[in-house]
Amino acid sequence: MAVIRDFAFQGAQMLLVLLLSPLLTGFVRKVKARLLRRQGPPLLQPYRDLIRLMRKDVVLADNASWLFRVIPYFIFAATWIAASLVPTFQSGLLFSWSADLIAIIAVLGSARFFLALAGLDVGTSFGGIGSSREVMIASLAEPAMLMIVFTLALIAGSTQLSTMAAFMNSPEVGLRVSLGLGLIALIIVAIAENARIPVDNPATHLELTMVHEAMVLEYSGRHLALIELAAALKLLVYLSLIACLFAPWGMSPPTAEPRLLIIGVAAYVAKLAVGGVLLAVFETAIAKMRVFRVPGFLGAALMLALLATLLRFVSRSF
């Protein structure tokens, strides 16, 4: 019975993240539009886009290989797996014990690797530009992310997300400078990984500025739908990760008590909404960076994460 219940909760989380992620993307777009005093597309527009794309035919380039056709499914699957591993409304879910934070980063990293391959596959120059930029960003963002994980793992004594969330929720965390630095670094990495504004503009097809859009330019139909859904899921994964590590309040412990579950879901949705609004405000307030300034931006994240680790050693020595 307990196993069935665990599966039910895990399945509920997987469905929840899948259903919420286009809504989150639509919500961020809507808030951004309102901040610019535009009407903006309706909140449900991303769902309509996805349904429309699913119905359309796939147009493939003549020289596209089998890899090009397989990659959208792989990227979507990998991102969904990562989303199912991050605790959202309830900690200690069934799957969360099979992989820790480092595994989640590795899964997302392999999805990115295949996306870069897809950009190169057809052989257009845009895809090549997109892939090379994406890999440049990744080579800086991933070390920073790993340093953040090390810092958090040193503080919480585990790389298991449920354990870390439980530790962050307990009063023994105190006020730590390393955690603050880690949070800032994680936000910078999340912005870079999700191709948000200072690094990449998610709303443009202007060739000089795009990174993510350039790689997926050759995709159409259901392939494009899957990639868009995976991108929306990735944004949700990073927001959930930040919420789970730095604001785990209200997350339900592994029980079946309905009151705690309702509180957990409500808190999760509220956290996503707050994160979405903050992201939209940040994106509206800042200008897109030149591509060659991105290493400086991400280097700051790497430096903050390194500094957080160092400061952590000072605080531990007492």
Partner: protein, 220 residues
């Protein structure tokens, strides 16, 4: 000593190190001066918290001195200087932000390794303050070495002095007289440096230190 008081002291002292890094990151003079003011503000907060924790009222005076002179008077004066020199829009060509940051991280690691070993049996609050203070001092020195513009070298010097004040407040027992005299000597040093800046400018038409190497007969 443990618990929230220690955490806040740690947080403030750590923020001072972070502000030093922010200083290293800035390559525009006016932004650099803003960051220096913030650096001094964090120092004042940190000293005030130490005064509260150690129940040493004279440290509040140190905090006020740091706040008034370093967070308000000196930044305002520096801003006037760069406006009068016409270099407030200047973008410095630094050694490179990346290498400077990496060097800075190395220096912080070095100071932690040294200080945590040397002060093994000291009071924990003093100990972490000393470790952070040494890093702030080293980062100030790094700033002076990696910058070409005389104004940013002055800022490096001032932030180095902030590190010294942090060390002095952490290790209880620096008399008030010494503290006040240090504060005033820094102020006087600042005035002297300010005068020198204008003299250098008059003489060589620039405050770029590389130009001065040429006049000393060194290479280039």
């Amino acid at each position: 000593m443990h618990g929230i008081t220690f955490d806040i002291a740690h947080l403030l002292a750590g923020s001072l190190v972070v502000m030093s890094f922010v200083q290293l990151y800035q390559d525009r003079l006016s932004a650099l001066i803003n960051v220096f003011a913030a650096h001094a503000l964090v120092l004042a907060l940190s000293v005030a918290w130490q005064a509260f924790v150690q129940e040493a009222p004279h440290l509040y005076i140190t905090a006020v001195i740091a706040l008034v002179f370093k967070a308000i008077v000196i930044p305002v004066a520096l801003r006037r200087i760069i406006v009068r020199l016409g270099i407030h829009r200047e973008i410095e060509t630094v050694v490179g932000v990346g290498p400077a940051m990496l060097l800075g991280i190395g220096l912080v690691a070095l100071s932690m390794v040294v200080m945590l070993r040397v002060t093994a049996d000291a009071d924990p609050l003093a100990r972490e303050d000393l470790a952070f203070a040494l890093s702030v001092v080293l980062l100030g020195l790094l700033m002076m070495v990696t910058r070409r513009n005389a104004v940013s070298q002055v800022i490096g010097f001032m932030s180095l002095e902030n590190g010294l004040v942090l060390a002095a407040t952490g290790a209880k027992g620096m008399p008030l007289v010494v503290e006040i005299s240090v504060a005033f000597s820094v102020l006087i040093a600042f005035i002297v440096i300010g005068i020198f800046l204008f003299r250098i400018r008059e003489r060589f038409d620039t405050v770029d230190m590389q130009a001065m190497d040429r006049f000393r007969g060194e290479k280039r």
